[in-house]
Symmetry: C2
Subunit: 341 residues, 2 copies
C-alpha cells in the first residue's frame, strides 16, 4: 500500500506510490519513434473492458451487463492506484517524521467509448452525463466511504500528465484535507470577514462590470481569465448560484456547465492548436466534515473549476517561491478566448 | 514594466511579465526538426558578449575589459527580465484586486564559457567560484537595492524550464517575501517551539542515525533524499553549520559545497541518464528585514538547497491539492544515489 508522508516545514503531503513503483531505468527518455500506447492497444476503448479493473459505475444501454460493451460513460478503479480503499487510520509520528497508510479512492472516468473524441467533441448531453457521473461518484465516496476530500480532475495531453490518450478524468479521494484546499477554505473565510460577502460572488460581480477579463457569461455560469492567472490562457468557471459543494449542482446547472465547457474548451483548442491542459474541480471538503470543522462554510466557500493550459514550465523560481511568471496578461488572453474563432 | 498581482484567496503572487509578452501563435508546438537554438548561435558563449545586456559582474583574466572575452564566470541582466529595477512601490488595491509594479532584479549567471560543460563537469574550484559569485551578488542586491527576497536557482534542461542550453543559473529578487518562503519561515519557527531546536539540525541528526535516506555526508554538508520527497530522486543539501543566510557561508564551506554538488549532480546524471532538474537555494529573506519581521530567525531558520529532478508531471491532482505523487520511495532513491556508479 502507498504511504502518505508530511513535510513538517511546509505542511505539504506527498503520496509515496508503491503501486506505481519505478526504477531509474523507467525514467530514461523514450526514443522519439516510440509512439504513445506502443502497440496501439487501449484498455479504455469499447471491447477492451476486461483489461481494466471491474467497473464501479457505468451509463450503459439497458440490458448490457457490466464490464462489456454498450456503455457511454464508464468508471473503473485506477489500475495503478495512488491510494487504495481502507479505513482512515490515525497519523503515525516518530521524531520529525509523520505518515499514514495511503488509503483513499482512485477512480478513472472514461468519458466516452471513442478513443479520438475529446471532451469538447462530445455533444452537450453527453458532457452533461459525464458531469452527472462525477456528481454521483463524489456523493457516493463522501457518504459511504467518508473520505475527507474528493478531488476530480482531468489531465489532457502528455505534458499535462495524462499517461493514456483515451479521454478520461480522474477522482482521487484523500483521508485528510489537502493543504491547498485548506488554504482556499481559510482564505475565503478571511475574505468573507473583510468584504462581508463571498469573495467569489464579489469577484464575479466586479469582473462582469469591468468586462476586460470576461470570457463568457450565461444565466448560470461565468468564465473569466483570473486577474492573477498563473498560466497563459488560464480560466476560472464559476456558477452564479452560490454553493460550496459541487454535489449540490442541479441537473439544469450541469446541463448549462456542459455547454460552457464545450464552448471554452473548443475555443482553447482553436486559439492555441489543441494545447495540453488540466481541468480541476475546486469544492469544499466532505460536507459532514466541513460543517463540523468550518461552521459557516456555506456562506463563504463557492465551488468552481479551473482550466490550466500547460504552456510554460514550472521551474526553479516557481518551486522556490510559489510565484508564477505568466507572459500573457489575462486581459489579452480573454480577448482571444472571448470571440468565436 | 511587468506587474505583480496577488490572488487574494490563496495569497499567491504572479508576475505578469510584459517583457516576455506572447501571442497565441508563440505557443504552437515546435516542429520536431527545429532544434533548440535554431541557428546554433548562443549569446552566452565566449566571444558573443555584445549579444547580452552589459555585464553586472565577472570573474575575468586581469586586464581584460568588461563585455569581451577572458571571463570564467559572467553575470548579466536577463535580456527579457521578469522584473526590472526600481524603488519598491506600495501595493495598490481596488475592490478585490491587488497589484504592484514588477520591480526587482533578474540576473543570469553564466557559469562558464564552454557551451557543453555542465555545472557538474567543471572542476570544483570553478564550481566554488560560481558559488562565490552567487554569494556576492546576493549580498550586493540585499545591501544596495534592499529587495526583500533573493531567489537563486538553476533550471537545467528544457523540461526544467531552461530556454537556453548554455549552462547558467538565475537570480530573481522580489520586492515582497514570496508566499512559499513565508510558509517555510513560519513553519520552521513553529517547529522550533515544538522541538526546542532548529528543525533542520534535528532532521540532519535523525537522518544520519537512520542512514536509509542519507546520500552523502562530509564534515560540512549532508545530502539526504527527503522523507516527504515530491519528486523521484529529490535531494536536500544542508550545511551542518546552522545559519539562516547563504551569504554567511565561509569560503571553506563554499569549497566543500562545490565538491558535494559535483558529486551528487554527477551521480544524478549517471543514475538517470542526464535528467532535467531544478536546483533551488532556500534562504531567509533579506537580513535587515528578517531581523525586524522575524526576531529569532537566526535560531530557527537554516539555509539549504534542493535538487528536484523533473521526472514526473505536475498534473491536475497536484494543482488542486498541493499533494505530490512520487513513485520512487526516497529510501530507494538514496540507495541508488549513495553509491558511486
Amino acid at each position: 500500500m502507498s504511504e502518505l508522508r508530511k513535510d513538517l516545514v511546509s505542511g505539504r503531503w506527498v503520496i509515496i506510490a508503491t503501486e506505481r513503483s519505478k526504477r531509474p531505468d523507467d525514467f530514461r527518455p523514450a526514443s522519439p519513434e516510440k509512439k504513445e500506447g506502443g502497440s496501439g492497444f487501449c484498455p479504455f476503448c469499447m471491447g477492451n473492458e476486461s483489461k481494466t479493473p471491474p467497473e464501479v459505475f457505468a451509463l450503459r444501454e439497458s440490458g448490457t451487463p457490466p464490464d462489456g460493451p454498450g456503455w457511454r460513460v464508464r468508471v473503473v478503479t485506477n489500475k495503478f492506484p495512488a491510494l487504495s480503499p481502507g479505513a482512515a487510520p490515525p497519523k503515525s509520528a516518530k521524531g520529525v517524521f509523520q505518515w499514514m497508510p495511503g488509503v483513499g479512492v482512485h477512480e478513472v472516468i472514461i468519458e466516452n467509448p471513442d478513443h479520438d473524441k475529446e471532451l469538447s467533441d462530445l455533444d452537450t448531453t453527453h458532457i452533461r452525463d459525464v458531469l452527472r457521473v462525477c456528481r454521483q461518484r463524489i456523493k457516493a465516496i463522501e457518504e459511504e466511504l467518508h473520505y475527507q476530500y474528493v478531488q476530480v480532475f482531468k489531465n489532457k495531453g502528455k505534458e499535462a500528465g495524462a499517461s493514456l490518450g483515451h479521454p478520461h478524468s480522474q477522482i482521487l479521494a484523500t483521508p485528510i484535507v489537502p493543504k491547498r484546499v485548506k488554504e482556499e477554505v481559510y482564505g475565503s473565510e478571511r475574505l468573507f470577514r473583510t468584504f462581508k460577502e463571498c469573495i467569489f460572488c464579489r469577484t464575479l460581480r466586479e469582473e462582469t462590470t469591468l468586462h476586460e477579463r470576461l470570457v463568457l457569461r450565461n444565466d448560470r455560469f461565468c468564465v473569466i481569465a483570473p486577474f492573477a492567472s498563473r498560466s497563459p490562457f488560464e480560466m476560472a468557471i464559476t456558477p452564479l448560484r452560490h454553493s460550496p459543494f459541487f454535489t449540490s449542482a442541479e441537473d439544469e446547472e450541469l446541463a448549462s456547465l456542459a455547454g460552457v465547457l464545450k464552448t471554452v474548451l473548443t475555443r482553447l483548442k482553436t486559439t492555441l492548436s489543441d494545447p495540453p491542459f488540466n481541468l480541476i474541480l475546486h469544492q469544499a471538503p466532505n460536507p459532514t466534515l466541513s460543517q463540523k470543522a468550518w461552521p459557516g462554510i456555506e456562506q463563504y466557500f463557492h465551488w468552481h473549476m479551473e482550466v490550466l493550459p500547460v504552456l510554460t514550465k514550472v521551474a526553479g523560481f516557481e518551486w522556490g517561491t510559489g510565484f508564477y511568471i505568466n507572459p500573457v496578461p489575462p486581459e489579452t488572453a480573454a480577448g482571444y478566448l472571448r470571440e468565436e474563432k
